[in-house]
């Protein structure tokens, strides 16, 4: 692993893309986590398909570059295989809130100990800018040139309802703040999601808007209801920060406590004996 977390891959995002902010924030995250005792070799990442997913090529960490909409399922599998690892899935808005929405809802419901960072640019960017689940009504893309006829989803509201124990929003234009949030998300034991406002300079350039309306909140909501209200604000004022954080039983621990499938594997001999008993 290279010290600066880079790889040999050529970065092919458009100049000015919000994904750069996320990449830079994430590199800081890894270093901050190391300061807090989380070794980088224990941090495993996954990503979906889309502009966002390219981050997997660009970050010098181990991981599985997954398929469209499934990185959240992939990291749940990784976590269940070896709970000693910290896992983080990158996903696009199309990825996490469209193709993969079911995995998000159930990861939240079961409080799987994973972190999902959503590069939310309100469009299917890599496939040339179609409307996505978070596109605004009226958004014009090549599959609906007359303009999107649906209201955008409120994904964080949905995930709160589903039982998410850590919900946050960041902005790729505020790198330090974003990296702070992601660090907290990774350290949180349970399901954490960070919806990152990510301008797509080609299909949905929201820099100006977000620079104006984003507002860092100083601390999480006092309770669930307040969090629900907070995540709903995304028109005039767009709060960013950690909205909600609560401790809940964590899936893999409810399942098998401190046991670890690959580390504490039952030996061959023991198994053969058990099988002989069975037959």
């Amino acid at each position: 692993m290279s010290a600066d977390l880079s790889t040999d891959a050529e970065i092919t995002w458009c100049p000015g893309c919000g994904n750069f902010g996320i990449l830079n924030a994430f590199k800081k995250v890894v270093k901050k986590l190391e300061d807090k005792g989380v070794d980088r070799d224990k941090l495993v990442i996954s990503g979906g398909i889309g502009c966002h997913g390219k981050i997997i090529d660009y970050v010098g960490l181990s991981g599985l570059y997954s398929i469209h909409g499934r990185s959240m399922a992939t990291v749940q599998g990784i976590k269940l295989g070896n709970p000693n690892l910290k896992v983080l899935a990158f996903a696009g808005d199309g990825d996490a809130f469209g193709e993969g929405i079911a995995h998000m809802i159930f990861a939240a419901k079961r409080n799987a100990d994973i972190t999902v960072v959503v590069h939310d640019n309100g469009t299917y960017a890599l496939t040339t800018g179609q409307f996505s689940p978070t596109s605004n009504k009226g958004f014009k893309g090549p599959s609906l040139p007359q303009g999107n006829i649906e209201e955008p989803l409120n994904p964080l509201g949905l995930l709160l309802e589903a039982g998410a124990s850590f919900v946050a929003r960041g902005y790729s234009g505020k790198i330090d703040h974003l990296s702070d949030i992601i660090v907290q998300a990774v350290l949180h034991e349970g399901f954490s999601v960070v919806d990152v406002l990510q301008p797509c300079v080609v299909f949905n350039n929201t820099y100006k808007l977000y620079n104006e309306i984003t507002e860092i909140i100083s601390k999480p909501a006092e309770n669930f209801e307040e969090a629900v209200m907070l995540v709903k604000e995304f028109r005039d004022r767009m709060p960013i920060g950690v909205f909600y954080k609560v401790n809940k039983p964590v899936f893999h621990r409810e399942f098998y406590g401190d046991w670890n499938p690959v580390v504490d594997k039952v030996s061959r001999n023991e198994r053969l004996k058990l099988i002989e008993d069975f037959v």
Binding site: L64, Y65, I67, A73, T74, K79, N82, V262, L272, I275
Partner: protein, 554 residues
């Protein structure tokens, strides 16, 4: 003709305990050191309808139930009607006179049962009492059986059983003394064999979403996984199932999934992902009649071709299907080993008839291998190192090395590539893995041959059991050839067969194995015996169909 077969059928509504009665009967025969085969037939519902369980037993190897029974016990009219033709010559039909009219021995089972609580659930016990009478078991022994097998309401059950016993004892004349056999076998279902096989090879996680007929494997692990150290996860859908399994394999965990055809459709994208990232995952498909929802609780072999090329693009795929419950154990173990040896997904293809039937089996767990992959030895790690045999060494996190699995076409390090030469080179690497796999299989046991004589009968999967029993029953001398591996198809083993007469027996309507043999191995097939009504073959019928076909076509 095969001697010494005794067959018992018990039929009734779902929820009346007919399957349980079948199991109790099978265990009883097993205690006599006889061999058994039990088939459970049930519709897709929870209470009502018509269920039945057939148990055939013999002192020698037995591979199928028979649909001519020495003793039929039916609890209602529908069962009576369905089974009245299933009584063997000299066989006996016992029916519940409260719920059915007909010929045979009538016993008022329901009115007796009504005297107890759970009156419906208790009726299955009547079937056991009648069986006890038929085979000359004393009441004391019957009591023991009931105590052992029916945990709840033992007293009521015994009291009820005695009443039925007495009633039957009066009326049954042709009692039969069952000869004892000489070995006590385990009584194993196909699903249990699959679960045990995977456990023996080192399975760590099983992911499944309920779908008949694969669900019993899920339940097996749910019930037995804990002590074996196997985790069982039921996620939100089949897509999550397959993708989680791939994620788990990234950590070195041996993982497996189970489903039926419809669920496997949803897993194909992940199957292809496994092909590309070279993830070792074993996929179990339990077949039922299709297309679509089809007939969920019946049996068919309609998905052979479907399972040969799942997932987009080109990568090594392995498909194999066990021909008996014992083989289900060894083959599951071998496939889990193979996916780790070659880092590519494999399919264990089976059917309801194997998964939900049970039979006497001898299993030697130590004959299995422990799935161990080629591991990285040191130096810079390259996930997709371009080796001679195409297999790149593995390394699992946590590690100071970069371990990158990638669904995009990639370089040796696992970084995405769009370079034409590299794209071709990585195709070649995967192709070489395919060749290595074939070479490996060439040294393995990939085809079963049974018996002697001509013409040959080709078959596969659970139909193998039906064919073997039919030949035994019909005193037919023919060679049975069962390809265990269906992909890569072991044509190297079949080269000698080309010149000959051959017939095929399979359970589908289009003759999928027939096509495969013709197309892959160039074998001239004279005729195919097909069955596609959802029910397994009956050996007596099958024997006469085979004789007929051989006479006419060969």
């Amino acid at each position: 003709m095969k001697k010494d077969v005794f067959t018992y059928i018990i039929g009734g509504k779902a929820g009346q305990g007919t399957k349980k009665a079948g199991i109790v009967a099978a265990n009883f025969f097993t205690d006599l050191k006889r061999e058994v085969f039990q088939m459970n037939h049930y519709p897709s519902l929870i209470r009502g309808g018509h269920n039945f369980s057939v148990v055939s037993t013999s002192t020698s190897k037995i591979f199928s139930h028979y649909m001519k029974a020495d003793l039929v016990v039916v609890l209602d009219q529908r069962s009576y009607n369905l089974h009245k033709n299933h009584v063997a010559k000299n066989g006996i039909m016992v029916f519940n006179s409260d719920k059915a009219k007909g010929k045979g021995i009538s016993i008022p089972i329901s009115s007796e049962a009504k005297k107890y609580k759970n009156s419906d659930l208790i009726e299955g016990v009547a079937g056991i009492a009648v069986l006890a009478v038929m085979v000359g078991v004393f009441k004391k022994k019957l009591d023991e059986i009931i105590k052992k097998e029916y945990g709840r309401n033992v007293k009521d059950n015994i009291k009820f059983a005695h009443t039925i016993y007495d009633a039957a004892n009066e009326k049954i004349v042709n009692k039969i003394i069952l000869k004892k056999g000489d070995k006590k076998f385990a009584n194993l279902s196909g699903s249990e064999a699959i679960g045990l096989g995977a456990a023996a090879t080192g399975l760590d996680l099983y992911f499944g979403y309920p779908m008949t007929p694969s669900t019993p494997v899920l339940h097996f692990f749910a019930g037995n996984g804990k002590k074996l150290g196997i985790v069982v996860v039921q996620p939100e859908n089949e897509i999550a199932v397959a993708n989680m399994a791939i994620g788990a394999s990234f950590t070195g965990a041996r993982s497996m999934v189970g489903t039926s055809g419809g669920g496997f459709c949803l897993m194909q994208e992940a199957f292809s992902l496994a092909g590309m990232v070279e993830a070792p995952v074993l996929f179990y498909i339990g077949q039922r009649p299709g297309p679509s929802t089809g007939v969920p609780t019946y049996t068919e072999q309609g998905e052979l071709l479907f399972s040969l090329n799942p997932g987009q693009g080109e990568f090594p795929r392995i498909v194999a299907s066990p021909g008996s419950i014992e083989e289900a154990f060894y083959l599951t173990a071998e496939l889990l080993n193979l996916v780790w040896r070659f880092q590519t997904p494999a399919i264990l293809l089976s059917e309801k008839h194997l998964g939900e039937s049970s039979m006497s089996a001898t299993i030697n767990p130590s004959k299995t291998k422990w799935a161990v992959p080629v591991m990285h030895k040191g130096g810079q790690y390259k996930r997709y190192l371009d080796t001679k045999d195409g297999v790149s060494p593995l390394l699992f996190p946590p590690s100071k090395m970069l371990i990158k699995w990638n669904s995009y076409e990639h370089d040796e390090l696992g970084l995405t590539t769009e370079e034409p030469e590299l794209i071709a080179k990585m195709h070649d690497k995967r192709l070489r893995k395919q060749e290595s796999l074939v070479n490996y299989l060439k040294k393995m046991h990939t085809i079963n041959r049974f018996g002697k004589g001509e013409p040959w009968i080709f078959t596969f999967g659970s139909t193998t059991m039906s064919v073997l029993e039919a030949l035994d029953y019909g005193d037919i001398n023919m060679t049975v050839v069962q390809p265990i591996y269906l992909k890569p198809f072991p044509i190297w083993e079949l080269e000698g067969y080309k010149e000959n007469n051959a017939i095929v027996v399979e359970q589908n309507s289009t003759g999928q194995l027939t096509s495969l043999l013709r197309e892959k191995a160039g074998i001239e097939i004279k005729a195919s015996i097909l069955k596609y009504d959802g029910c397994p073959f009956d050996p007596i019928d099958l024997a006469s169909r085979i004789k007929e076909v051989v006479k006419v076509e060969c």
